[in-house]
Amino acid sequence: MAVKVKIPAQLRPATGGEGEIEVEAETVGGALDAVFAKHDGLRERITEDGDLRRFVNVYVSGEDIRFQDGLETAVEDGAEVTILPAVAGG
């Protein structure tokens, strides 16, 4: 599946300034791994021991992956995977 991963401003220094990265993947975790393969610096910023850090939220087409299958959540062709900081609100 062709998936678009949206990178928040705070992480763009680790992607050479890129805000949207197209990858091929079957799951959210696969899409993130494909992004890490291109920009290795991103991995340690948002993951710890293979899991997302606790203040990182990931959405597939607007839906929080914790309401789905987490990193195993399947992605459809053309899906948008959005990474956002979880430290807003109230």
Partner: protein
């Protein structure tokens, strides 16, 4: 006290005092840091007592190089001793901090005053927020008073009173199809694209500092002492944790002596991710989809959840969740024993106090401060159909025929539920 910078609560990385809220290195939240050295407790107290009669009297402990001014100054709301409530619950001493007595009738005036003053200092000309209702009222009002533009984003299905009490200030009110967490996600994305100060996104570290003033006032109003226990509502967990931070700061500076109060958190069962994590022994919260009448507390993915859990545990407290019926009963209990009419969030808090008393966790030897953070007139549906009105002709006969003596019950046919 001098404000020094922002630092990451997770990894300690330091940042300048700008419109930043996330750590680039680990994505943790940023918090304002101060240099406590050289503060003398006696002179700090005198400065406070000689200060304004609102939150700016605590300017030394807020994130400004020089004391701010604002068109609207919240704070110094009443701390009321509630003996009738205490007696009914079998609790030693209950104090109600009635923060509905703020300019837009909730504690959100405190956080907005601080966020707006900082936004202006940083050169912003537009403020915005993602809100469950009360923040919307406050942002719209404070922006109007300051003469700057505002954008207010709320779930479209909010209480009518909260929508009206926002729109009246002439803001751009945006009702989003979805729940608060959808609104918050949208605003997090928008904050990166627009040059606006979103009070609870890109200037959230400053916004959050405003809640410390509730701790400072409590100490001052109790005669420079700490409460034994507090009961406080939790949505994102910012209010709860910052009240804790406020007490800690003043203890470490010697402005007040004694142990850190025991912190009891209050959530609605229909949106209780922090209460659930507390019960399960988890240190992070699983997000939930809110379904409760306490819309002001309906945040399913609380940003400060981990820190709220930490405070409840380290202080030896708790985090409870109460049902919608308990919330309605909590509103009535507070109104009937104290004369204070609170909104659903206050119903959650009052119901939690009642639950703690019922469980014996708070008893005859305890003194407790209860944070009532919002106004009953904003959530009228919560008390609708709760009581009857006697409808009569304007004559003595009609009065005598229709209105029973005190203690007697009127025939249902002669009354109308309202």
């Amino acid at each position: 006290m001098t404000v020094t910078g922002l630092s990451c609560k997770e990894c300690g990385t330091e940042y300048p005092l700008e419109a930043l809220y996330v750590c680039d290195r680990c994505f943790g939240p940023l918090e304002v840091g101060y240099d406590h050295a050289g503060i003398d407790a006696g002179s700090a107290r005198r400065r406070i007592q000689a200060g304004s009669s609102g939150i700016w009297r605590y300017a030394d402990f807020l994130p400004f190089a020089s004391p701010p001014t604002s068109a609207i100054e919240p704070g110094l709301t009443p701390l009321v001793r509630a003996d009738r409530l205490a007696e009914q619950l079998g609790v030693g001493e209950v104090w109600i901090k009635n923060d509905a007595a703020n300019p837009t009738h909730s504690f959100k005036d405190r956080v907005v005053a601080v966020a707006l003053a900082k936004a202006l200092e940083l050169g912003f000309d537009t403020v915005a927020c993602a809100s469950t209702g009360n923040l919307a009222n406050a942002v719209a009002a404070h922006a109007a008073a300051a003469g700057i533009d505002s954008y207010v984003f709320v779930p479209a299905n909010l209480e009518e009173q909260k929508l009206l009490a926002t729109g009246v200030y002439g803001t751009t009110l945006v009702g989003v199809e979805g729940n608060y967490d959808d609104v918050n996600r949208l605003c997090t994305e928008l904050a990166a694209e627009r040059g606006w100060a979103f009070v609870n996104v890109n200037v959230r570290p400053y916004y959050a500092e405003g809640s410390k003033t509730l701790a400072y006032e409590t100490v001052e109003q109790l005669g420079w002492r700490l409460p034994d226990r507090v009961v406080c509502p939790i949505a994102s967990g910012s209010l709860f944790t910052k009240i804790g931070r406020g007490f800690e700061e003043w203890r470490s500076l010697g402005l007040v002596a004694g142990g850190l109060p025991i912190f009891h958190g209050a959530q609605a069962a229909g949106c209780g991710p922090v209460a659930a994590a507390f019960a399960d022994g988890d240190d992070v919260c699983r997000p939930v989809r809110p379904d409760t009448i306490a819309k002001s507390l309906a945040i399913g993915d609380p940003a400060d959840g981990p820190y709220a859990l930490d405070l409840a545990r380290t202080s030896g407290g708790s985090i409870d969740a109460v049902s919608d019926d308990e919330i309605r009963a909590g509103i009535r209990l507070l109104a009937e024993t104290t004369g204070i009419f609170t909104e659903t969030a206050g119903g959650v808090t009052a119901a939690t106090l009642a639950k703690l008393a019922d469980r014996g966790e708070i008893g005859a030897d305890d003194s407790v401060v209860v944070y009532i953070t919002g106004e009953g007139l904003k959530t009228l549906d919560a008390v609708r159909e709760g009581f009857a009105m006697h409808e009569i002709e304007p004559t003595l006969e009609s009065f005598a025929a229709h209105v029973p003596e005190r203690g007697a019950v009127a025939a249902p046919a002669l009354t109308r539920m309202i």
